[in-house]
Amino acid sequence: MVEAVAEAVGAATTGVCAALLVRAGRGPLVYWFSGWHPRRGVALGISFAIDRLGAGMATMVAALVTAALVFSVRYFEEIEGHRFHILTLVFMGAMVGFALTGDLFNMFVWFELMSVAGYGLTGTEIEMPAPLQGALNFGILNSIGGFMILWGIGLVYARTGALNLAQIGNALAGRRPDGLVVMAFTLILAGLFVKASVVPFHFWLPDAHAVAPTPVCVLFSGVMVELALYGAARVYWTAFDGAMSPYAVGLSKVLVGFGALTALVGAVMCFAQQHLKRLLALSTVSHIGLFLVGVGVLNHVGLAGVAVYVVGHGLAKASLFMCAGIVLHRLGGIDEEQLRGLGRSIPAAGVMLALGGLALAEVPPFGTALGHTLIDDGAATAGFGWTPWLFGLVAAVTGGAVLRAAGRVFLGLGPREPARFASERLGEVTERETQEAEGRTPFVMLAPAAVLLAGALAVGVLPGLSGRVERAAAEFEDRTGYAERVLQGRTAPAPFVPVEPPSLGGLLSGLASGAGAAALAGFALFRTRLLPNRFRRRTSATLGRGLYLFRSLQSGHVGDYTAWLVVGLAALGGLFAMAFR
């Protein structure tokens, strides 16, 4: 009964957000709570300023939450009270609020609510020590992130006297960003990057994903981390762009640099994982890196690419996590090596897992291919001509990891992996997470996975999507138009945007990265037959040792993670200080 109510609320929210998306096509919708309209350009009230990208994010959030709730109906053994559904609905509300708001402090409040609900959801199986520690690591790191955002907001408020994003933008515009503005920007961005799992703030994400129940992982990887990046983009384009646009070149270099680092670290760590949920979590980290590159090029084509890629990736990743959940439910394990060959009894999940891997590899016509093409086009305009190589490499590595896992679990291929990469220690958690399986995979578990994967495909083939998203991205980046709409209520004419269709070369390169993914997976699975024995043993000794050291950075120790957070904050601040000199 509770499940039905929760799903109905999720579906209704999806409908409302979709309606907002349609209405926002005519110009941003602005709503002032309790009627506190701005007077003479000063806004005391809290506003929701809903443009197309914001409403699109909100629709995506609500849709994934509904899918996760449907999936969870047969997934859990028993849920005490109605804790899971309540927390999930609060989580959805907070994320939708975060996507729609036009006020900086309101954004922070939704951020904290989203985080608290997330900590609660991660610790669903609180009786076991591992989820407890995962929830604590997640909680401590993200709370520090929230505190940094608050600090940045305090600095901004002290300088501008405003909390409304449009008004802050007007107050900061035209003036050279001095030390205080740069610090505030650093703090707010670093706090959001913690939630977005940008390297080196990312260490909490694999831990949280390893211990959180599958429907929760669907939401974390599908929308929560992307929403944090959306928040960073929103804060920049409405509040800081007026002051910082003369320095856009240096700023974009810093952001693209962090994005590339995140993408590469995430991809390498992803391939070295055997724990299916950690593998998918690290591929999320690497895709966040790709999204940061797309946002960081600071033009509307790149941002449009990110929007399309976020939708395509979110749907595909959600489907992949649901397949991992089906594997856990039916086969009782989550380690690739332990599950070798057992997947033959659930071919549907195997097919979906493989297709999801292809989606991660940016194979057209999945939406990820279209997104990647647009980002590369935008990056080329901004002078970053090397991004196709980065995207191709990351796509091949992460897609290859998923294909390799699919091959091992569902076809029994591949050599026995050395024990040091195993993840048995987490086995005790995963057995309890889901209830005793019957002979067949429940329809409510297969259907959402299939529907989401179909959605990821549909995004790539919808006609005219790229043009509409590019116009929406240009509206997102138009600070003066936004400010005029929010503070004066006047809808400015939309900025004229030459709409560029995605280049064919980009789409074809998706086929190349798909082939690369298949090749990598095949290489990993068949390497005993492909390479001469002595060469293989020597390289695997050195490579294995190097990978093991790299992986040991993910130590599970919250003090280590916090130290890396401080390093990241210092690096970000230092680089921004240099960029804004």
Binding site: E112, Q133, S143, A210, L426, R551, H557
Partner: protein, 47 residues
């Protein structure tokens, strides 16, 4: 006289209380399950 600052502070106190309460309950559970509060001794999540 700025009324917004006190609104900010009060709101943030409420937010902080919620987050702190949840984190503390997690910490108490951790202490009950594992008998220690030292992060060096809690190591089930390596990898």
């Amino acid at each position: 006289m700025d009324p917004v600052v006190q609104a900010l502070t009060l709101t943030d106190i409420v937010v902080g209380v919620t987050v702190t309460a949840l984190l503390l309950s997690l910490v108490i559970q951790a202490e009950k399950r594992t008998g220690t509060l030292n992060p060096d001794d809690l190591r089930p999540l390596e990898g």
